[in-house]
Each structure stands twice: as structure tokens, then as C-alpha cells.
């Protein structure tokens, strides 16, 4: 089975290429696949009809319970024959019908045949659902064609919306059903049907999905609209196969769920109402395809009622009708296709005399229509007899008189529209449109003839039909009158009388029918669908207008209010005890708090950019002091250095921007709202901080770290965490740093590449001035700035201090394992040394200090860190594992080196490289880059 499905997919994928070489012959190639399916299913007939089944399973993600389970049983066999048999005939028919875009159509039709086969074979609710939606997608693509015509797009969209919406509802039902049953395997659910309230809800949802797919009222609107598709598509998808999916699902689940409360009333009421009303609509149609479409809806209603009723006779009648309907309805659609193809019209009012012009086709169509009307000895008659038997005598379903009456009325109308079809399509004297029409080739009519003849053969040979259909119906116990047998002749029974009555009344309705008296019009669901979609559009507009105002402060306010409203209220509702927190940990803290909060408040109040950044830095230094007080020297060191670095970088940028913020005019109310939102978040965070630490229940996992750190040879536990225990985090972090540096570079370069900074060289490198050229100048770049801007004392002091600072940074790097310090702080110290050189000596001095491109430094750092992390793999370890190496170099005595020191060196290099890159971005690049865009003048004088 898996192979068959794969064959469908594979051939469908290859067909567009083959089509270019083979031309029309590609249809025959395509038809071979469904033919093979029919033959393969035939080999299992004996076993399956004995009540056995054939299973295949493909484990996809067994841990999640996702397996592709397929199962062939009697019902699947019947459906597979219908799907593959009609599919093969339709594909052969297309050889004559399709004139353009054949590759796409053939591929889609074959792909559809494959998904439909998968649907009827699926033994898992999820697999079934996936195939279900795939058929919807295929239907969408086949209705829409290339999307060139408005009404095709519209019909395709409607079909997609209605059936996928139904599918989603059904999926919900499937999940409820699967949860209630404890399994998602269909065969297991059938073997041990679940019961209960959940199952009742699931039944409603699943049936809604099935009704949407099978065009049951009031969800049928998409099916007539879909008739804009080419006729073979209508014949296959919208008559024989896809719309049967809903009926199939009903038939599949009825043995398990027919007794669950809303199942039987829903199925019978919806099915029979649809049967009668849609048949009524068919009498009004003048377009032959539309007539058949409403006929299909009507027949699907009858099938839903029969297969869902949950009795043996009804199920038997349902399966016979399923088979009969697929044959005669596909044949009639294909007939219309030939008429349309040859005469250019399919309107009853324009067609006349086609019967004389194309007698063979007429005979074939009459045979099919007779099966539809239920004339003996055709299969339609056998099915109708069984249906009347099931509902009229309706032994074990309540309210059976009503059901029988509805069925009879439906059958009468069916006879009437079958007659209307035949007379409308073929009756009358030949007119101009028909007279000039070319007769169809034998190969064009042959698939239609095969389908029509199937109705006759299966009807006359009802014993063989019974063998197939009874195998499914036998899951139900026989009624009180014993098991019903299919037959053409049961003797003079009331059912025979009813059957004759339907034919008589149907002929009467047709005789006095449309043309003599207008058939009253029924309310149209199409309008309801249009209104619903238009209303949805309007709702979307209103929602968009009210939520997407385009203002960043408003969006952020909404976020903050949500933060306070949802987690805040939850926090307040839980009302956890904050314990008894001390006022302060150390008496220094209140003073630091005043400094930090004062600086923060001043940042809010200031109107100057530079003041703002200095005050923000002050708050940062205050935080660093808090880190010291609370026993986090590593943090404090990093915070101090980072704060300084941030300050330097922001100032580099700010020197190019106006000193004051542009004066904004903010309404008082808006200001109040913002202050209130920010204040509320502050209160929330304060409360959170108080209760969060009191909420701890387990001991900190880091209590083990001190012992483990000793094993790695480290004494500074924080450093051990960064370079060893959680080194993967660090690798990610330094990668992020590098990315931001690259981002900054690209952001500050506003001009194009052709406008290079004079003397700037390639991006990422510094000016090529070297401190030893000219040889006599000890302070390079001396000519760059006028003497009044320079301080020789500062420059000389910087030059002298620079090596010492670098040495300090190296000390921090190497001692980080034992004392506060490490790669980050070391790298930042080194970076600050370069910032100092740049500040004091200008870019040429920086160029003298760094001869390597910044990118190379940063990149080598990342490479080193990653390399050290991956190296243990070569020795059979796990990534990022570290080892302790003891070396005894002369003079120094015994030295222990942890391999993760090299990791820290990588971090150091990366930080230095990133700082250099940022310097080249916001420092050097901006030096010659002072004027904003032309709009600036008017912008700043607003």
C-alpha cells in the first residue's frame, strides 16, 4: 500500500516532464497507476471479503505515537475500486478532453488519486486527516486551474474555505474521540467504541467535517460553485471520489458511533433534507453540470442517511448506492463534458437534437441516467430497493414512516431530474449548434460507456455485487426479518410497489414539470457565504484599525499594561508571602541606592544627550558598587569596564549628533499614561523581586560547583562556570558580540562604498600610518591635528602606559581561573587601552598600535574558542570538556594549566577584536562623516 501511494506521488511528480515528450500519450501512462491499484486491490479480494484485512505500517516518529497505519478491509476495498477505477477511466477520457496545460492537470489528478487512496486506506485518525486535507488542496488547485479567471479563483477559494474549516472542526472531533478511546487507530476504535459525553461532542464535530466535505446542506454551496472546473475534474473529484470522503467517514465510523446520541438524528435529518431539497434545486437548473451537481448533493444526502443509519439493510443499500452513484454520476458528467467539448454549450435551452447527432453517446447516457432513476435491472434499482426496504420497513430505527416518505419524495424528484437531464441534453430536433458538432471518437466515449455498462453488469450480476457490499454490511447484526439479500426480484412486495410509484410520480413531475409551471425558488446559501466572508473582511479592517495604530509608544504601553494586568494580577492573586526581607544587606547599600536612583531619575529628566549618557554611566557604576558589596567581584569588574566602554562608544557617536534632544510635544495625558505604565511595571518588579527569592524551595544547584571547580583546577567558581560548566552559553554569547559588531559597522556606514574615508583603507582596518614613518616622529599622526588640540604630556603618558595596561589585561586573563578576572575583563581592559590610544593620539596612533585587521582578531578568537571546545572530540571526550595539564618548565617550577584557559584566550581575543571593530566603526568611520542627510536642516528646525 505504501508502495502504491509512493508510486502515485512519484509518477505525478514526473508527469510534467514526460508530458513534454509524450504529448497526449502521457494520460495513458498516468492511468496505468490507478489501474495497477485496481489490480492490486483485486489480489486481496478473497481474503478481505472473508472478513480479514491487510495492514501495513510505517513508523515515522514512534516515540510520539506517529505511525502511518494503513489497512485494507471490505469498505476500503470498495472505495479503492471506486477511486482508482473511476480515476483510471477519467484519466483516459482526459486524453481527448484536455487541450491545454495537460502536464499540470495530469499530475494533479494523479496526485489526487493517490491522496484519495491514502484517505480510504488510512487506519489512523491523523493520517486520515492529513490525506483529507491533501484532497482539499488538490481540489483547490484543480478548480482554480492557473487562476486566470475570476470565477475560478472565487469558486476555488470557497471550496477551500468551507472544506478546510470543516476539516479543522473534524480534527478537533478526532482528537476528542482519540482521547476518549485512548487510541487513534481507527480499527481499535471500531473494535472497542468509546462512550460518554466527550464522544457525543466529538460525534457532532466529526459529522460537521464530513458534511462540509460531502456538500450536505447548509454547507453545500461550494459544490455547485466548483462546477467551473473542467468537466473531468467535476466528474472525478466532485462526483465520484472526493465528495465521497465525507460519506466514507460516516460509513467508517457508523458501526462504532451510530448508537451515540446525536449521531443518528443528525445523519438522518441532514441527509434526507439534503436529498429532497437538492433534488428540488436540480429541477430548476438549466446548466447540465449544475443539474448534475445538485443531483450529486442529493445523492450524497441519501448516502449519508443510509450509511450513517447504522443498520445492516441501510448499510447494504448505502454501499450499493455508493458504487452505483460513482458509476452513473461520473458517466453523466463525462457525457456533459463531451457535449460541451463538441457543441460548445451545456445549457438545456441551447442544446437540441444531440441524441440524433451522437446516438452512441445518447445510448450510453440514457443507460447511466436510468441507473440514476432506479430502473430495473440496473444497479441503481437494486440499491433503491434496498434503501426503501431499510427505511420503509425500517425495523430498528424510530420514526421510520417519516424517513420512508422523505426517501420516496427524494426518489421521485431524482427520477424527474434524471428525465430532465436526458430530454434536456439529447431531446428535440438538431439545431445549428448541434448540427455542426463533430462526432466524438470511440476512445472519447469508451470510458463513459464502461462506467454506464458497469451499472448494468453489477445490477444484473447482483450476486457478485452482494459479495462485496455484504462484507461491509455484515458488521451490523441482521434485523428481525433476517438478513436482507440483494435481488432484482423479491416478489410482489410493498417495496416493489413504492419503487414503481417513484418512477410513475417522477415521470409525472417531469411531464408537467419545469416549463409548464415554475419550480419555486429556495433560499440561497451562496449569498450567506458571501455575506459571511464580506463581514469577516470588515471585521479584520476594524480590528486592524484599532490595534495597528503605528505608534511605537502605544504598542509598548499595551505590552506593559498587559504585563501588569496578566502576570501582575496572577502574582497578586497568589499573594505569596515575601518572607521577612531585611532592610539592607550592608549599610552601604542605601547610599548606593540613592546614587543609582538619583542618576536614573536625572537621565529621565535631562534634555541633553551627553548628560544623559554620563548619568546612565553613573547609575552603572553604582550598580557595580552594589556588586562589590554583595560579593560579586567578577561582576563588578566587568560592569566597571563595560560601563566605561559603553560610555566611550556612545560618546563617539554622540559627538556627531546635536547636543539636545529634539523638543517633543507630548500631550499631558499621554505623558501621564506613560508614567503610570512605567511606574506600575516598577512596582510589579519590586514585588516580584521580594517574593521570588522567598519562593525558592530547592537548594541552589551551585552549592556543588565549588567542589567541582576544585576538580577543574579553578578557584574562581564564576570563571569556572563561564569557561567550563556553561561554556556553550559563552560560545553563543561571544558569537552574538561579533554579530553586533558587524551590525554596527554596517549601520554607521551610511554612504556608499564609493565614498571611502580619505586614507581609510579597506573596511575594518585602520589607516596605514605607522608610528615609525617618518622615522624621526615618535608620536605618529602629529600632523593631523593643530597643536592647540593636542596635549603632548597626555600623548606621551599614554604611549608609556599602553604596554602596562596590556600587561594588566593579560594578567587578568591568566589569573581569572584563580582570582576575579578572566577573558572578558582582560579583553575589555585591553580594549580600553586601544580606546585610550585612539582618544589621545587619533586614528593614526591606533593604526600604529594594531597592525592586524580587527575582524581577523575577533574571528580568530571565535575560532580558538570553538576549536578548544571541539578538540576533546578528537580524544574521545565530549565537546567543551576540559583537562588539567601539569608541566614542569625550568625555573618556574610546577605549573598547572587547564585546557579551558585557551578557551578564555579565545574570549579575550574576541572581545579585543570586537572593541577594535567598534572603534573602527563608531570612531574612525565617523571622523569624516559629520553632516546628516539633506532633510536634517528642516528636521531640526521643525
Amino acid at each position: 500500500m505504501l508502495f502504491l501511494l509512493a508510486a502515485h506521488a512519484g509518477v505525478a511528480a514526473a508527469i510534467p516532464w514526460w508530458q513534454r515528450r509524450l504529448g497526449r500519450a502521457v494520460w495513458i501512462v498516468a492511468a496505468l497507476v490507478p489501474l495497477a491499484t485496481v489490480a492490486w486491490a483485486g489480489t486481496w479480494t478473497a481474503e478481505v471479503l472473508d472478513g480479514g484485512d491487510h495492514r501495513e505500517s510505517l513508523s515515522w516518529a514512534p516515540a510520539l505515537g506517529l505511525t502511518i497505519d494503513l489497512r485494507l478491509d471490505a469498505l476500503s476495498l470498495l472505495m479503492l475500486w471506486i477511486v482508482a477505477g473511476v480515476g483510471a477511466l477519467v484519466l483516459l477520457y482526459c486524453r481527448y478532453y484536455v487541450e491545454r496545460d495537460a502536464g499540470r492537470q495530469a499530475a494533479l489528478l494523479l496526485a489526487f488519486a493517490g491522496t484519495m487512496a491514502g484517505l480510504v486506506l488510512a487506519d489512523n485518525l491523523f493520517v486520515l486527516y492529513v490525506f483529507w486535507e491533501l484532497t482539499t488542496v488538490a481540489s483547490f488547485l484543480l478548480i482554480q486551474q492557473r487562476g486566470e479567471r475570476e470565477e475560478e479563483r472565487r469558486a476555488a477559494r470557497q471550496a477551500l474555505l468551507v472544506t478546510t474549516a470543516g476539516g479543522l472542526v473534524m480534527l478537533l472531533g478526532f482528537i476528542m474521540l482519540g482521547q476518549a478511546a485512548g487510541t487513534y487507530r481507527v480499527s481499535e476504535i471500531l473494535a472497542d467504541p468509546p462512550r460518554g459525553g466527550t464522544v457525543s461532542a466529538a460525534v457532532v464535530l466529526v459529522l460537521i467535517g464530513a458534511f462540509a466535505k460531502s456538500g450536505q446542506m447548509p454547507l453545500h454551496g461550494w459544490l455547485p460553485a466548483a462546477m467551473v472546473a473542467p468537466t473531468p475534474v467535476s466528474a472525478y473529484l466532485h462526483a465520484a471520489a472526493m465528495v465521497k470522503a465525507g460519506v466514507y467517514l460516516v460509513a467508517r465510523l457508523a458501526p462504532a458511533l451510530a448508537e451515540v446520541p446525536p449521531w443518528r438524528p443528525m445523519v438522518l435529518a441532514v441527509g434526507l433534507t439534503t436529498m429532497v431539497l437538492a433534488a428540488w434545486r436540480a429541477l430548476r437548473a438549466t446548466d447540465l453540470k449544475l443539474l448534475l451537481a445538485y443531483g450529486t448533493i442529493s445523492e450524497l444526502g441519501m448516502l449519508t442517511a443510509l450509511l450513517g443509519a447504522g443498520t445492516r439493510t441501510a448499510a447494504l443499500a448505502g454501499t450499493v448506492m455508493l458504487l452505483a452513484h460513482a458509476a452513473f454520476k461520473a458517466a453523466l458528467f463525462l457525457t456533459v463534458g463531451i457535449l460541451d467539448h463538441r457543441t460548445g454549450t451545456r445549457d438545456i435551452r441551447e442544446l437540441s437534437g444531440a441524441g440524433r447527432r451522437m446516438p452512441v453517446l445518447c445510448a450510453v447516457a440514457v443507460l447511466a441516467a436510468a441507473s440514476m432513476a432506479g430502473l430495473p435491472p440496473l444497479l441503481g434499482f437494486v440499491g433503491k430497493e434496498a434503501a426503501l426496504e431499510a427505511f420503509w420497513k425500517g425495523t430498528d430505527i424510530g420514526g421510520n414512516e417519516l424517513l420512508g416518505v422523505a426517501l420516496v419524495i427524494g426518489s421521485v424528484l431524482t427520477v424527474a431530474y434524471a428525465a430532465r437531464f436526458v430530454t434536456g441534453a439529447f431531446g428535440g430536433r438538431p439545431n445549428a449548434a448541434v448540427d455542426g458538432a463533430e462526432r466524438p471518437e470511440p476512445g472519447f466515449v469508451a470510458p463513459v460507456a464502461v462506467l454506464s455498462a458497469a451499472g448494468l453488469v453489477l445490477g444484473v450480476g447482483h450476486a457478485a455485487t452482494a459479495a462485496v457490499t455484504t462484507a461491509y454490511a455484515d458488521v451490523y447484526p441482521p434485523g428481525p426479518h433476517g438478513p436482507y439479500e440483494l435481488s432484482l426480484w423479491h416478489g410482489f412486495t410493498p417495496v416493489l410497489g413504492l419503487s414503481a410509484l417513484t418512477l410513475l410520480l417522477g415521470a409525472l413531475v417531469h411531464a408537467v414539470g419545469p416549463g409548464r409551471w415554475a419550480v419555486p425558488r429556495l433560499p440561497d446559501v451562496q449569498r450567506a457565504f458571501d455575506r459571511a466572508t464580506a463581514g469577516l473582511d470588515r471585521l479584520a479592517t476594524v480590528v486592524t484599525r484599532h490595534t495597528q495604530v503605528g505608534s511605537l509608544p502605544v504598542y509598548l504601553t499595551v505590552l506593559l499594561v498587559t504585563l501588569v494586568a496578566v502576570p501582575g494580577v496572577a502574582l497578586a492573586a497568589a499573594a505569596p508571602s515575601p518572607g521577612s526581607p531585611p532592610l539592607w544587606w550592608s549599610p552601604v547599600e542605601p547610599f548606593l541606592a540613592v546614587v543609582i536612583l538619583g542618576a536614573a531619575a536625572a537621565v529621565v529628566a535631562t534634555r541633553y544627550r551627553l548628560t544623559g549618557v554620563l548619568l546612565a554611566g553613573a547609575a552603572g557604576y553604582g550598580v557595580a558598587a552594589v556588586f562589590v558589596v554583595r560579593g560579586a567581584p567578577d561582576l563588578a569588574l566587568t560592569q566597571f569596564l563595560v560601563e566605561t566602554m559603553t560610555l566611550a562608544m556612545v560618546v563617539f557617536v554622540l559627538r556627531r549628533m546635536p547636543p539636545r534632544f529634539s523638543p517633543g510635544r507630548v500631550r499631558r495625558r499621554a505623558r501621564l499614561v506613560r508614567a503610570a505604565a512605567a511606574g506600575a511595571v516598577g512596582v510589579l518588579v519590586t514585588c516580584f523581586a521580594l517574593v521570588a527569592s522567598a519562593a525558592r524551595t530547592a537548594p541552589a544547584i551551585s552549592t556543588e560547583y565549588a567542589r567541582q571547580a576544585a576538580e577543574t583546577g579553578a578557584k574562581n567558581v564564576v570563571n569556572a562556570i563561564i569557561v567550563d560548566f556553561r561554556a556553550l552559553d559563552t560560545v553563543g554569547e561571544i558569537a552574538v558580540l561579533l554579530v553586533t559588531a558587524v551590525g554596527v559597522m554596517s549601520l554607521v556606514r551610511v554612504r556608499g562604498a564609493e565614498e571611502r574615508i580619505p586614507g581609510g583603507g579597506a573596511p575594518g582596518t585602520f589607516p596605514t600610518a605607522h608610528w615609525d614613518e617618518p622615522a624621526r616622529t615618535w608620536l605618529p599622526g602629529a600632523g593631523e591635528r593643530p597643536g592647540g588640540e593636542r596635549s603632548v604630556l597626555l600623548e606621551v603618558a599614554t604611549r608609556l602606559l599602553f604596554p602596562s595596561i596590556l600587561l594588566l589585561s593579560l594578567f587578568l586573563l591568566f589569573s581569572g581561573h584563580y582570582r576575579p578576572g578572566g577573558g572578558f575583563s582582560g579583553g575589555l581592559v585591553a580594549g580600553l587601552a586601544f580606546v585610550l590610544r585612539y582618544l589621545v593620539g587619533g586614528r593614526a596612533d591606533l593604526g600604529a598600535a594594531v597592525r592586524v585587521p580587527a575582524g581577523a582578531v575577533a574571528g580568530s578568537g571565535l575560532m580558538l574558542a570553538a576549536g578548544v571546545g571541539l578538540a576533546p572530540l578528537a580524544f574521545g571526550g565530549v565537546p567543551l570538556e576540559s583537562a588539567l595539564v601539569t608541566v614542569r618548565p625550568p625555573l618556574l617550577g610546577t605549573v598547572e594549566i587547564a585546557t579551558n584557559l585557551f578557551f578564555d584566550v579565545g574570549v579575550y581575543l574576541l572581545v579585543v577584536g570586537v572593541v577594535l571593530k567598534l572603534l573602527s566603526g563608531v570612531g574612525v568611520s565617523l571622523e569624516h562623516d559629520g553632516t546628516p542627510a539633506d532633510g536634517e536642516r528642516e528636521g531640526s528646525h521643525r
Binding site: R281, P582, R630, V650, L747, P820
Partner: protein
């Protein structure tokens, strides 16, 4: 075991308030300052809520006083460095905005507003008649 004290909780709350208040402004540079303050607040929050204070977590021979929890410190350290990278990125963003548009303000997105009004206009148009003939309609694609 309560690792946080009232002063620190207030400092964290104050930093968040100031940070968010600045972020609600329209000037990109103010938003950057707000981001810096929020960064301070968050790093502090990580440290004070994550574990109890104490002696620096450096293994030494002497001393029996409890050491501070090293894990939140390592996390906060990572956070500090990332905050630095992001801050510089945001500053560069503000600079670019100023260079290209002459100001560093976040203006309202007019496109967003236009979506609402454009759809509204289309909705008010008297569309073509939707004649329904036996279920198939030939209405316009809206």
C-alpha cells in the same frame, strides 16, 4: 531563605520604572538610555533574586562565612556583556536614523494607519451586484 533586601528591590523597581519611562519616549537616543537602565535593573535583579550574597565565590583555604551564589553571577556576567553589544548596536541604529532622516525620533508608521483607512474605503465602495443564479455567482473578487 530570603536573598533579597528591601533596598535592592526598590533599586531594581526604580531602574525598571526609569528605563521603561524612557523607552516610551519617541527619541531613539532616549530609548537607548532606557535600554541601558533596564539592563542595569535586570542584571541587578538576576543577582539579588538568584542567590544569597556572601563572600566572593573564590575558593580559599580560610573563612567559614557563606559564599555568594556563583551561578547568578555567571549569568549576570553574560548578560552584562550582551547588554553592551546591544547598546552599541542601538546607538548605531539611532545614529543611522539621524543621518538618514535628520532626526532620531520614532515616528508613527503611516503605512499601518493607511491599512485601516484603505480597507475602509474599499468596504464602502458599492461593489458590483452579486447575482446568484442557481448557486453560481459572478461577483467581483473583493
Amino acid at each position: 531563605m530570603n536573598s533579597v533586601d528591601v533596598t535592592m528591590a526598590l533599586v531594581v523597581g526604580g531602574l525598571f520604572t526609569a528605563g521603561f519611562h524612557l523607552m516610551l519616549q519617541r527619541s531613539l537616543m532616549r530609548i537607548v538610555f532606557g535600554f541601558i537602565l533596564l539592563g542595569h535593573g535586570t542584571n541587578l535583579l538576576l543577582l539579588v533574586v538568584g542567590g544569597s550574597p556572601g563572600r566572593p565565590p573564590v575558593v580559599q583555604g580560610e573563612g567559614t562565612a557563606p559564599t555568594a551564589d556563583p551561578l547568578p553571577q555567571a549569568m549576570a556576567l553574560t548578560a552584562i556583556v550582551i547588554t553592551f553589544g546591544l547598546t552599541v548596536f542601538l546607538v548605531a541604529l539611532a545614529y543611522r536614523s539621524w543621518r538618514l532622516s535628520g532626526h532620531d525620533e520614532v515616528r508613527d508608521d503611516l503605512e499601518d494607519r493607511r491599512i485601516g483607512t484603505a480597507r475602509e474605503r474599499a468596504g464602502n465602495d458599492p461593489g458590483p451586484e452579486h447575482g446568484a443564479v442557481d448557486g453560481t455567482t459572478d461577483g467581483a473578487d473583493r
